[in-house]
């Protein structure tokens, strides 16, 4: 894991002092709310429906046990005993007081964390594959370049007042778990014919009101050129991105309006005009960072774990959880444990302070002191010995953290919606809760196989509904909430935007509608065919017929 050195510590502590001064000036009325707004936003502090909300950056979703424990402490001390893990691999606290906000930032700085640029029209927290450094299919760990980008983008003087927010996602594996094609910039590591590693640079993906899949501007960018090349992209966007309409201000609109070729030509011209004078320091810095992400010293173990196999035979509940919630590790005898934060009837991504402490302890004891937050709002223990998994599961079960629905229809992504968010047009949490109750039986979820069900409470799409295999979008029609259903979205390496099926549904009709869709799929699937594959084969027609014939 990355550790702060004296410079990082000083940087964050100066930033905290600066924010404390800004908050004091606001409370004393020296600066107006309009002037304070961009300052607090650049430090992750939003004003929501009921209170301030603080969004804490968890760079590339990686946490130590100590950091997770501090998040629990903040939840208990400053919030109502809860935190909400988000689709940006961050955590949000929904009940924050302005006068305590600087203290929280100090508590975060104490454990090498901050809330810098988790909001505002700047470069946001960088996200990566939540199985980074552990996944069996990985080519390289995407976090070192993520950390390099985090540092470079922190308080970047040129790019702090962009036309709109800007999000990076990075994957070092062929199977894209970081949704890189629906981010402003996506990076994917791959090897060229000579065996060298480089990055595919994708620009202009995004969700929101105008969902788009990113276009590739460079197939193979040598690692040493990443920072200067990103500067060129950012400069073109900062100069020419639209500022007349906030809904058309993301880079995807610039790419779309100029056309991919013209946009690419602008970036290449900018890059050629101002080439980096040297990149030795950047390379050195990347090498320095890489050392922090060296593979943990894992034991040499057999692939067969007798204790694990025995526990599965003896305990069917454990066997079921193990089947759904573990993923292949690159090291024999180890596994990746995915903790679902989607219990029956729960709020997706929520965890109590006590649950965070349980997970922190498990991370420390069984997973090389590492935890991850996934963009699907779950927690990952990346390096667990197979023979320890049963003990981990027992501890999770005791803390109500053993939902066995990872990757299944109950593993719902949902934004906070109208229960908290000032932008929302409809509630998403109650819909997620109703669905998770409807499909509470895990055997039934397994029967449906892997399904990504994503819910957003407004068109801004924080709940990723466009890229859900099944997407639900909550809207407002003359004061009534109603929900539009899309099918066929995906955020994988074969990214696609879902198609709207037809007229929306009232909140109480949504669970039955989703059931109809899933049952329709079961009837038409070929042996072994997953939901998304089946949808791509048959298209929306059979689903429409089933849904609107009965509705």
């Amino acid at each position: 894991m990355y550790r702060y050195d004296e410079f990082d510590h000083q940087f964050v502590s100066e930033r905290t002092a600066q924010f404390r001064d800004q908050a004091n000036r606001r409370m004393a009325g020296v600066i107006t709310e309009d002037e304070f707004r961009p300052l607090r936003l650049m430090n992750g502090l939003y004003l929501q429906l009921h209170a301030y909300m603080l969004r804490v950056a968890i760079p590339y979703g990686t946490l130590s046990g100590k950091q997770m424990r501090q998040l629990a402490y903040i939840a208990d001390k400053y919030d109502r005993g809860y935190g909400h893990f988000t689709t940006r691999q961050n955590i949000q606290y929904n009940w924050i007081k302005l006068e305590e906000s600087a203290d929280i930032l100090q508590d975060l700085a104490d454990v090498e964390m901050h809330a810098i640029q988790t909001s505002g029209n700047c470069i946001r927290n960088v996200t990566t594959d939540h199985w980074a450094g552990a996944a069996a299919d990985e080519l390289l760990d995407p976090r070192p370049i993520g950390e390099l980008i985090r540092q470079w983008s922190s308080l970047h003087p040129e790019f702090s007042f962009l036309p709109r927010k800007f999000k990076f996602a990075i994957t070092g594996a062929p199977h894209d778990r970081a949704a890189v094609k629906v981010h402003d910039i996506g990076l994917r590591a791959h090897k060229n014919d000579k065996g060298e590693t480089g990055w595919e640079v994708m620009v202009g993906g995004g969700q929101g009101r105008t969902p788009m899949v990113a276009v590739t501007v460079r197939d193979f960018l040598p690692e040493k050129d990443v920072i200067p090349y990103l500067e060129a992209i950012m400069r073109v966007y900062n100069l020419y991105g639209r500022r007349d309409n906030k809904y058309k201000a993301r880079i995807k609109i610039l790419v779309h309006e100029l056309g991919a070729e013209k946009f690419k030509a602008e970036v290449e011209a900018e890059y050629a005009r101002n080439p980096a004078q040297t990149t030795e320091v950047e390379q050195r810095e990347l090498a320095r960072i890489e050392k922090y992400f060296a593979k943990p010293a894992l034991e040499k173990l057999s692939r067969f774990a007798p204790h694990f196999e025995e526990a599965k035979r003896a305990n069917p509940d454990f066997a079921r959880w193990a089947k759904n919630n573990l993923a292949a590790h690159q090291h024999d005898g180890y596994t990746i444990v995915n903790i679902s934060l989607k219990p029956e009837g729960g709020i997706p991504g929520d965890a109590s302070g006590e649950q965070m402490r349980v997970m922190a302890t498990l991370g420390e004891r069984y997973s090389q002191d590492e935890l991850r937050v996934s963009h699907a709002q779950n927690i990952v223990l990346p390096h667990v010995k197979l023979d320890d998994v049963f003990a981990v599961w027992q501890a999770l079960k005791a803390a109500d953290l053993a939902a066995a629905n990872y990757g299944l229809v109950g593993d719902i992504i949902a934004c906070p919606g109208l229960d908290y968010c000032a932008l929302a047009t409809a509630r998403s949490i109650p819909i997620a809760q109703a669905l998770s109750r409807k499909f509470a039986d895990v055997a039934r979820q397994e029967h449906y196989g892997p399904v990504k069900l994503n819910i957003s409470g407004c068109i801004n799409a924080c709940g990723h509904h466009h890229v859900g295999h099944i997407g639900i979008l909550g809207l407002d029609k003359k004061g009534e909430e109603f929900y539009q259903i899309t099918l066929g979205g995906s955020s994988s390496e074969k990214a696609s935007i879902g198609t709207i099926l037809g007229p929306g549904f009232a909140a109480h009709e949504v669970p039955d509608a989703i059931e109809t869709i899933l049952e329709t799929y079961v009837k038409l699937r070929e042996p072994g065919e997953e939901f998304l594959a089946a949808y791509r084969r048959v298209g929306p027609k059979p689903f429409k017929e089933a849904l609107y014939a009965t509705a």
Binding site: W152, P157, R243, E280, V281, R288
Partner: protein, 176 residues
């Protein structure tokens, strides 16, 4: 409105010349990009000092031929949230412009370090902020991660500090 330069308020002796006004014999005049391009043959012969005022929608990448003749370039922030002029400033400095680079418009002390770092060295500021506000704002952060930007004496680059002995990105110095 006061002109801030080297952390002091100074008097401004530049005058903006409207596009339809005749060019004086001498003095310090600022013209628009339209005027600069249209009357270039005449302006090249001008015996006074020449400045350019650029809108933030005007391109900086075709100015290279004009830059050696310019003593002042004025860039505008119509709103503090409109950050185009940061990139314009950077472009101009990267192209080797060494004259005075002035920021005007909706400037706030909390952006002052950013403005300095991208190469601005004079600022038309709002009267409601005191000199003390600006002086304090100029040293809020003593560290920055990015390389190749302008640094005041109190500021350090993290990456260059960590890896000493490697070539720095040379930033064009401020005119002062």
């Amino acid at each position: 409105m006061p002109l801030l330069k080297n952390n002091e308020f100074v008097s401004d002796d530049w005058a903006f010349l409207p596009d339809d006004a005749a060019l004086p014999e001498s003095g310090k005049v600022v013209v628009s990009l339209t005027r600069l391009v249209k009357d270039w043959d005449q302006l090249v012969e001008f015996t006074g000092l020449l400045g350019l005022s650029l809108a933030n929608s005007e391109r900086t990448d075709e100015l290279e031929a004009y830059l050696p003749q310019l003593t002042l370039v004025v860039l505008t922030f119509p709103a503090f949230t409109d950050g185009r002029a940061y990139s314009q400033a950077r472009e101009l400095r990267l192209q080797g412009y060494r004259g005075e680079l002035r920021a005007q418009g909706n400037l706030l002390p909390d952006q002052f370090q950013y403005l300095n770092q991208v190469g601005f060295d004079s600022f038309v500021v709002d009267e409601r902020f005191s000199l003390v506000d600006w002086q304090g704002a100029s040293k809020q952060m003593s560290l920055a991660y990015q390389r190749g930007l302008y640094r005041t004496a109190g500021e350090r680059e993290v990456w260059s500090q960590r890896h000493q002995g490697f070539a720095a990105w040379e930033e064009q110095p401020h005119a002062g």
